[in-house]
Amino acid sequence: MYWDLFVSFWKIGTFTIGGGYVMIPIMEREVVDRRKWLSHEEFLDNLSLSQAMPGVFAVNMATCIGHRLGGFRGVIAAIAGNILMPITIILFLAISFRLFRDNVFVEHVFMGLRPAVVALIATPVFRMAKQARITWSTLWIPVVSALLIWLFGVSPVWVILAAIVGGLLYGTYSAKHKGSVSSEGKGSVE
């Protein structure tokens, strides 16, 4: 069982390039369709929990599924499998890249891909803004957060803490004053 967990998550970690969300369909095929460890609904439940909780999404998924199947040892097996290859590959590249860094051609290649990387960081800003369903009344939250971090050097840690405290306080307030606030109660932020 532990070995199966390790192997499955090894595959998921090794053959998905480009971050956690690319892993979702591959993970689902592996743990739902092939291994039948979870039903599709359970998979979706774990997915939403892993997205909500802090940390790396793929590792959270590995924790959920490992925990369910094999308790603490299952968690270790799934996570170890998931991150083994990525860490090995990165270490290999990190060590060898230092040898080529001063090569003129390598520097030219990186001069080309740096603006591309920045653009790829800018893309999820707009995509996630849509998914988070930001309205005119909540637009100030990301804008003020970004300005505090960008211009005033405030640590994102404080911004996240403020969001947690603010969210809990506002949630308590609106629960008291408007009865129940459903997850679709978007109009409540006014």
Partner: protein, 191 residues
Amino acid sequence: MILLQLFWTFLKIGIFTFGGGYSMVALIQNEVVEKHQWMTSCEFTDILAISQMTPGPMGINTATYAGYTAVVNSGLPVWEGVVGSLLASLAVIILPVIVMMIVYGYLSHHRDNPVVDMMFRILRITVVGLIAAAALLLLSEESFGVPGLNKQFIVSVVLFAAVFSLSYFKRTNPILLIVVSGIVGGIIYSF
């Protein structure tokens, strides 16, 4: 000493990451470039490029690579860099994993709590600002060249605009975009 600092820093990064790899990148950037100045913004951008192109979760890849670079940049030998990278990767996952194991049973039954729900909603909105700040901080002379009518800046702006449009509107594969930009840079700047 730097190893301890590194471990503590990445513990913080792990537990304050909400909403996926890009928000972790924002936190890592703030800690290792802005606050501790373990590396330049340019080095960090290079790390991001490699982390996006290699297998595995981007947050883990960036943490591993940044941990290594921070230690080696401070003049320590390669093997301590390896230790640093392993510490950073471990630190970044350990607290979230503990939290996950604690709440797993509980949250599956209390999902509909409106207060918790509101907290996560505000967090999702806030994270957008975090990533925006990271992108703004990366829009630097180091990555784009000095603004003006010079070759590097013009090429950089064109590449930025092209990659952004393709990835946002066409959802072109990011790895392909990075590889093509690298090839374009290699050709344009070498001749």
